[in-house]
């Protein structure tokens, strides 16, 4: 009978509840939808990758190296081929490509394929079926973007080094490509037999050699490569199997999805705030009823259960709606992220994700509802007789403590579950807690200051509007928190993006170089200098580049260090990579000495017996675990050279100019095989293009980069990333608006009552409107100022410590955010309060009398 009564009362009491709480349920709906959409997408991606990994790689095994394969490696490939494997080769390098008709030149990635690769997956050319046939002549296939950027057409001639190739068509689709790729770099395909003709594979060029294999028994691939792992490592050959490719791709896309999911989680948490806000008002209206029930004999827990049941049902409804909306959004997410996806992601229902969304939405809404609902549990039956009677609340209510604890644990668990890594999850939870606390404190401080210092002699409408923010049962703090959170997210994103772009824009200052030329051979230096002088382009910087490999740290060889599993770990990439050194007697503007003494202070000539000195970058010094006085032995094109670390530099890697892990003192590498990098500045883009064209014609091996093109590409990439994040942040904004509308709706009764009273006392409708407008504008100002202020602080933290750049505050845009929030809040508030102004005093008083 007791359970039946509880259920019956919950059902009856919810008649008016459903409509009242609907707006807060929408807040949970949005949060659940965000999570379900992105997590379902992640699951869809994982399935798609596991199904399509082979098609994306295009082969069963990929081998690659920066140098031509050593004989031992070729022997392995030969043995696999003898065992029935099909082998394709791909050589790639960067070079300038010149469209002879238009005269436009660009830095491109040249790929020279041979064999039947790709063995799996789709490759589309336009016209179709050109992939094999274009190789029979001096033809080229290009990215569609090449035709646009070089103002070329099919049939035009492309000059690559000394080679001339007719553009036969475009490659519309290549296995594993993402939409962003052409933004990052243009690609051109030439037949492998004509590679030598280009004359571009020479000293100093950065080229890659790859082999793609189709193995008869794919199950043997992993064991095949693992058995030869040490051979590959010794010859600096990396390999990728289908499984590893799929894992890497999944990991990358999963991390992207998890990051976006964190943004969606914020929407869910805001939804929880909305629920707490709505239930708080609901409880205030139900306390009398609860007291009557207690009077009539309902037990404490039973009374509590009646209202918890209602909140639970509303939370369940919100979660179900959220799952449905999330499924609809799931179809949209691939479109938003299409530039980052190398594969088609088919839509499929992910029941685990849906159930998780349902459970999380219900649990979160219940937890947030519990806090205000606890007042029902503690309601005194005596309140039915004396309305002003309030039970003295225990200082340490175990229920309240348990609810807060459960809330904290839930939020922590959700962020850790959603985050790409545990550390990031913990950091996000901590940052969210700090952010929420600061938002709340800022909101309180603003309100307190306003209440205290608002001029008492201000206009009546202004004073009344401000006073309304502090009326009993006001939702000012909750609305400020919710709207402020949404503003914070968007503004913070903007601040970071703006600073990243501003940093890049620094490179376009009049004193900065905007054209970089590299792979200049020593015997070409004079010719290049003459060309630049002829074109009125000053040489701003001339930097020699000496390629080298690290062979020893102190007494230990690289092989010994790699084999040592007990000592301090030094990353493999730092030991095995190809280094590019330079030599000079000064620091450059992107460098700062942080330890030791610069070379010139001791004088080169005074140190005849000592080892050659180098200056090392602090980051690589930390990776290699070396310091001042330590010795490093290099292989400079086959010649061993032992050096001593004389000092440590800090390098601003964000600067668009040659930066180096190691700088040699003058006189050591002057006779070593080297190439040059030259930087110049040409303001006129047409002259810049002409210089690039002249370089290609006169010196086909020299590559040049127009930095303004790079900056435009980075801008485009950042904009796409920001778009994806903003898409998820929209859920938070929507939650904030829902809470705002709800906050306005719940206090409609009070506003109407006040308006009726004021009108009865003689106030005109214009005055009522001004009061309302003041209230909403102040609310929007609090929220906007809170969000924008904290966004500026968080942006400073991110830019300064995460990106290690100088922070610049985008004042005017933030001001626009602030004012925009205030105006939007005012408009929404006034729109929802139209009937408040229209109500006649008599009609209003009749309503209140009843």
């Amino acid at each position: 009978m007791s359970l039946r009564f509880t259920l019956a009362m919950a059902r009856r009491e919810s008649r008016t509840t459903r409509r009242r709480l609907l707006i807060y349920i929408i807040a949970i709906t949005l949060g659940v939808a965000a999570l379900v959409a992105i997590n379902s997408f992640r699951a869809n991606v994982t399935s798609a990758v596991s199904e399509q990994a082979r098609q994306l790689l295009g082969a069963d095994l990929q081998l690659g190296s920066r140098w031509p394969f050593a004989p031992d490696v070729e022997a392995v490939i030969d043995s696999l081929e003898s065992a029935g494997a099909a082998v394709s080769r791909l050589t790639s390098f960067t070079s300038m490509a010149l469209a002879t008709r238009s005269g436009d030149a660009r830095l491109v990635e040249v790929q020279a394929p041979s064999g039947d690769y790709p063995y799996y997956g789709e490759l589309e050319t336009e016209p179709p079926e050109l992939w094999q046939t274009f190789r029979v002549a001096r033809q080229t296939l290009v990215d569609p973007a090449v035709l646009i950027q070089l103002d070329a057409a099919i049939g035009d001639t492309l000059a690559i080094g000394q080679g001339r190739f007719v553009i036969a068509g475009t490659v519309a689709k290549m296995p594993g490509d993402i939409g962003l790729r052409s933004t990052i770099g243009l690609r051109v395909y030439i037949p492998a037999p004509y590679l030598e003709e280009t004359g571009l594979l020479r000293f100093g060029s950065i080229s890659y050699y790859q082999a793609y294999l189709r193995i008869a028994d794919p199950a043997q691939v992993q064991s095949t490569v693992e058995a030869r792992d040490s051979l590959f490592e010794a010859n600096r050959v990396w390999y990728t199997t289908v499984e590893e490719y799929g894992e890497d791709l999944t990991e990358g896309l999963d991390q992207l999805g998890r990051f976006l999911g964190l943004v969606g989680l914020v929407a869910l948490l805001l939804g929880g705030i909305g629920v707490a806000s709505g239930v708080h008002v609901f409880v205030s209206e139900k306390l009398d009823t609860a007291a009557v029930l207690r009077c009539l004999g309902t037990r404490q827990r039973q009374t509590f259960a009646i209202y918890v049941l209602q909140a639970g049902l509303m939370g369940l409804a919100g979660a179900v709606l959220g799952v449905a909306l999330g499924l609809a959004m799931q179809a949209v997410v691939p479109q938003v992220l299409r530039d980052f996806l190398p594969l088609d992601v088919p839509f499929s229902l992910e029941w685990g994700v849906m159930l998780a969304g349902l459970g999380i939405g219900l649990w979160v809404s219940l937890l947030f509802a519990l806090l205000p609902l606890l007042r029902i549990k503690d309601v005194a039956p005596l309140r039915a007789l004396r309305r002003d009677y309030e039970t003295a609340r225990r200082r340490r209510d175990p229920w309240r403590l348990a609810t807060y604890t459960a809330l904290a644990v839930t939020l922590l668990a959700l962020t850790v579950w959603q985050a790409p890594q545990l550390v990031i999850g913990l950091a996000f939870a901590g940052a969210a807690a700090v952010g929420a606390t600061m938002l709340g404190l800022t909101a309180f401080a603003l309100m307190h200051l306003t209440r205290r210092f608002f001029p008492r002699r201000a206009d009546f409408a202004l004073r009344q509007g401000i006073a309304n923010l502090f009326r009993p049962h006001n939702q000012t703090v909750a609305a400020t928190l919710a709207i402020g959170s949404g503003v914070f997210l968007i503004a913070h994103l903007y601040v970071v993006q703006r600073n990243l772009l501003d940093q890049i824009a620094i490179e376009t200052r009049p004193d900065r170089p905007n054209l970089v030329m590299f792979d200049i051979q020593l015997d070409q230096e004079k010719g290049v200098a003459a060309l630049l002088e002829q074109r009125g382009a000053p040489v701003i910087q001339r930097t020699p580049i000496v390629p080298a490999r690290l062979t020893r740290l102190g007494e230990r060889s690289v092989e010994e260090i790699l084999a040592d599993t007990t000592g301090p770990r030094i990353p493999r990439w730092a030991l095995l990579r190809e280094y590019r050194h330079t030599y000079r007697d000064t620091l450059v503007s992107s460098e700062q000495l942080v330890g030791g003494v610069w070379f010139t202070e001791e004088g080169v000539g005074e140190r005849e017996e000592a080892l050659p000195r180098i200056s090392i970058e602090e980051g690589i010094a930390e990776e290699l675990k070396v310091g001042i006085g330590d010795r490093i032995t290099w292989d400079i094109q086959g010649v061993p050279l032992e050096t001593e670390i004389a000092n440590i530099r800090r390098v601003d890697w964000a600067r668009f100019e040659p930066n180096f892990f190691a700088v040699f003192e003058p006189g050591v590498l002057a006779d070593a095989p080297q190439s040059l990098v030259v930087l110049t500045r040409v303001d006129d883009p047409v002259r810049r293009a002409e210089i690039q064209r002249d370089l290609v014609v006169g010196f086909p091996n020299i590559a040049s980069i127009d930095i303004t093109v790079i900056i435009a590409a980075i801008d485009a990439i950042l904009s796409k990333v920001a778009l994806a994040i903003r898409f998820m942040a929209l859920f938070s904004i929507a939650c904030g608006l829902v809470i705002l509308i709800g906050a306005i709706a719940t206090s409609r009764y009070q506003r109407t009552r006040e308006a009726v009273l004021l009108k009865t006392l003689g106030a005109r409708s214009r005055v009522i409107r001004r009061i309302l407008a003041t209230e909403y504008f102040a609310l929007g100002t609090f929220a906007g100022l809170t969000g924008v202020g904290l966004a500026a602080i968080a942006g400073w933290v991110a830019v300064t410590f995460l990106f290690e750049m100088r922070f610049r505050l985008p004042g005017l845009p933030l001001l626009a955010f602030w004012l925009g929030t205030a105006l939007l809040t005012t408009l929404i508030g006034l729109a929802n309060s139209r009937d408040v102004v229209k109500r006649t005093p008599l009609a209003g008083m009749r309503d209140f009398a009843e």
Partner: protein, 231 residues
Amino acid sequence: MIIAKGLAQTYMSGDRPLTVLKGIDLEIEAGGAVAILGPSGSGKTTLLGLLAGLDLPSAGYVVLDGQNLSELSEDERAELRADKVGFVFQTFQLIPTLTALENVLVPIELQQASVVNGGEMQRRASELLERVGLGDRTHHYPAQLSGGEQQRVGLARAFANRPKILMADEPTGNLDAETGHHVINLMVRLNREEGTTLVLVTHDVELASKAHRIIQLSAGRIVSDERLTPQ
């Protein structure tokens, strides 16, 4: 039926203690009608609340139908109220989301010892509403009823669980004179028909005169206890 000994009650008003009752001793026999009379602030509503077990006294005790309320837990006192006490409130205190019939049903549904089935509960509730003259308003919500009609629903609810004791706190306080008169007559009649013990709190002397006994409170103390011949 009700025994109160050394009853005292002190509340915190802000940061200062406020003593509302200062040592009340009284006994109320079964079947009688007792009016507790006093001006506003005399402690009569507080006394009513303590007699009904809605709160625990700062000092003293109350025995209700043989049970010391101080020895019972909050839920046990709630059970006791569900079984033995009916309430009539000054502000009617109908649950706004329930119909008239559903409001009357609440005490019946709460009775743990009830063995009546759903049909019988409905019949009892409908019959009570008939007796108070609202047989044709069973499905109306409180917002659709006048003040007098709401108080009549309150009366029907108060008798729904066949209480031994009826506690009425200013039952006509929010009604006009004529409606209040009508409600009081109804309450007295039902009280007589059901055989309950009536404890009525009022500041209205004329209303108090309808009881068998008038206990006057002033400043938290009983200043007179007079037995009358009922009107």
